[in-house]
């Protein structure tokens, strides 16, 4: 057999113990905070029907979907028919975000609460070009509230993610805020025709990566004049003027006035909550996904290119799955981005893992005796590894360092006869022979 690669596929990662405990630490904070806001958990399948996924994320999103190849008879039929297209070869794909599955779930289950507040912490897959902090399999931590247009919901999802970040130790993040309807008004004001609007938003979404020139260039490639691109960027920059939102909100006949009023009200509602001091209006914020309809959010953090998360209101998405129109708003934290920044800044507390005790024995001690002692220690709450074989004791003890154990337990004929264990603390070399239950107390009290 030829040797196969033992690396994970491109853009995918193995998480060894040290990674897993860091990931779990962050997720445990996320889960606790999201629950404190009254959200309940949801988990949806990795695989969704393509009919669920396609047409929700915009053309770029559709391109990045992972699709599942048909099997057996269906594959044969598709291939025998000749000239198969992509959709003849697959009708299922991998979860691309957690919002579209939520919309499907809300449409499917009639007995959910009227204001369904769910959180969902699961991986998603995008066949994007891998880069620093960008993977093809990555985790999202979403909170969404469906069933209400009240801006309290928008404020609450912002409050939940702000609380998570604060509890993780972040102090210098911002939650950028904009409104799709305000953007549309400013796009129209720049004489960009409605059918070019979503292309304009996709180009604008790359502003922080490619700069103003890059955006104008992409707009030109999409058939817009340089004048239009510059007019759009000019109008957006002008909107940074303090007081812009209040003025626009007061100008009630003008396109975007209602949107500006909503942002003013949202900032006021959120003011007294945890998101208040982090929210900041940014008229250039666009968000790439096509399903947003109202306020949109994005988290930025010093030193991180790209965002730690984002979200917004999507009042029409659920209606694509059901005849009822159900408004909704949500926020998604990107686990990998959070971990990246925390790692670079050394924000993790000490996180224990692995066995506390390595149980060693002399060659004349039967394995069943070691297992019996290990069972007693484990029942007392100690994490115990039993050394499987019986080489020289020094070799066994030396192995304890490799696995990060703090103690070695030694079983010989003497210990067995007395129901005891010789306990050696590796950091100090201190060694004592104790009853097994007493050894457990010593280990647990460290």
């Amino acid at each position: 057999m030829t040797q196969v690669s033992t690396k994970p596929p491109s853009g995918m990662r193995d998480f060894l113990a040290a990674d897993v405990v860091q990931r779990r630490y962050v997720l445990s904070v996320v889960q606790r905070v999201y629950e404190s806001f009254g959200f309940v958990p949801l988990e949806t399948p990795t695989i969704e029907n393509l009919s669920t996924l396609l047409g929700k994320y915009g053309p770029e999103g559709d391109q990045l979907l992972y699709r599942i190849l048909h099997r057996r008879e269906r594959l044969s039929r598709a291939l025998e028919a000749g000239q198969p297209a992509e959709l003849d070869l697959a009708d299922e794909g991998l979860r691309y975000d957690l919002t579209v599955p939520l919309a499907r779930v809300v449409a499917n289950y009639g007995d959910l609460p009227a204001f369904y507040k769910r959180y969902q912490i699961q991986p998603v897959w995008r066949a994007d070009r891998p880069a620093k902090g960008r993977f093809r399999e990555f985790w999202q931590c979403d909170v969404d509230i469906t069933g209400t247009k009240s801006l309290v919901a928008d404020a609450e999802v912002c409050g939940a993610v702000a609380t998570v970040l604060v509890e993780l130790g972040f102090t210098d993040f911002k939650i950028l805020l904009n409104h799709r309807e305000l953007l549309r008004a400013l796009v129209a004001q720049a004489q960009i025709p409605p059918e070019q609007e979503s292309a304009a938003l996709i180009a604008l979404d790359k502003l922080d990566k490619v700069g103003a020139e890059g955006v104008v260039k992409e707009l030109a490639e999409k058939g817009l004049g340089a004048g239009q691109g510059e007019a759009l960027l000019g109008a957006l920059e002008a909107a940074r003027t303090p007081g812009f939102l209040a003025t626009r909100a007061g100008d009630t006949g003008k396109p975007g006035a209602l949107a500006a009023a909503e942002l003013v009200a949202l900032l006021d509602t959120a003011r007294s909550g945890p998101a208040g001091k982090y929210l900041a209006f940014d008229p250039t914020l666009a968000r790439g996904l096509s399903y947003y309809t109202g306020p949109i959010f994005e988290i930025t953090c010093a030193g991180l290119s790209g965002s730690m998360g984002g979200g917004g209101r999507y009042d029409n998405l659920i209606g694509m799955f059901t005849k009822r129109s159900i408004p909704a708003v949500g926020f998604s934290l990107g686990l990998e981005r959070v971990l990246l920044v925390m790692g670079e800044r050394g924000m993790f507390p000490a996180l224990g893992k692995g066995p506390q005790l390595l149980l060693c024995r002399f060659a004349d001690v039967p394995a069943s005796a070691a297992i019996s002692v290990a069972t007693t220690l484990r029942q007392a709450g100690v994490r115990v590894e039993v050394y499987a074989d019986t080489p020289a004791l020094g070799k066994q003890i030396g192995y304890a360092d490799t696995i990060g154990a703090s103690f070695v337990g030694i079983l010989g004929g003497n210990e067995l006869a007395r129901g005891a264990l010789t306990l050696k603390r590796l950091a100090t070399g201190e060694q004592r022979t104790l009853a097994v239950a007493e050894a457990a107390s010593v280990i647990l009290s460290l």
Copy 2:
């Protein structure tokens, strides 16, 4: 747009809050117990290269793999070349079990401990026909020890899963035990040629589902005479005779003697640990996967068709990924089967979920005031949902039942002026106006 199905794909499931909390409860016990045995966590990607997966599970396994369709240029090239085969259209697939990824990981990372004891709790995907308790996406909870042939490792993985089941409240399960080399000896004894051996084991693996006649029939379809099938089943039944293992172990020249001796030693080693009283030799146990080489295990439980988990020794699998030969043994618990039995038997404790308090307000109370009170309560540890709108108070309070909240908090002008909250306990109707901090204590003390 035509209405698309809102159901998850066939064999896949959505887990709403009540499901998620039951699943988490079981997984938290699994994790705690596995860690008490000194195992450390590993997580591997959902997507693996097909070169990693193919040829490890036997022909039936290869058929059930989910494959990822190529995208863009690679797909176009494959289709334009004409007559594409399955392998031209995909070179990645979904994780099929947790053992093969572990083997790849052990081969890939040179700095793992010599005896790498890892646990892994993740979903796997098999395009099998869905049935009761059998899904296409399901979770496995694996423990494995690599790097040693010592039967202590086999005893420890059995001990870990036995402890999980006991802590979950199971008392009537068995861990069936057999040995691949003993099976091979008995297969040879029935005059079945070596090239038919793995087909014979696959047929035998279905014994509990299709009975002896079904096995003989499948063997006949694979080209074996009825005499051979009956001889095999006869030899296996004869091996149930008490003392068979000890006799065979003593018959040192005979094929299978060493395997029998290993089973005797394993039973003796495990005797004093948590698996001891549940282990039972079953000569007909075959296990479907092709990579096992030594002892094999399977958990049965009264009333459950199929198993709650299984495992065994696979001393050659890791060697398929690296030039070093590294022995290994592992055990996999099937989360869905465990949940199925626990559900049928009512074995779950009461599991809290959802908000404890629904915070309601009169229409003249600004949303920012409600968010401020909610923030204080959440910081004190209370799970709080803020009612987003302000319909009549009765309607708001009525909603608390829908979400299972135990308390309603009411904010009016009076409460606001005093920094207070009117707290109503729904079960009793009892109602009191309290300082917000005091209200938090009352809720948390329930």
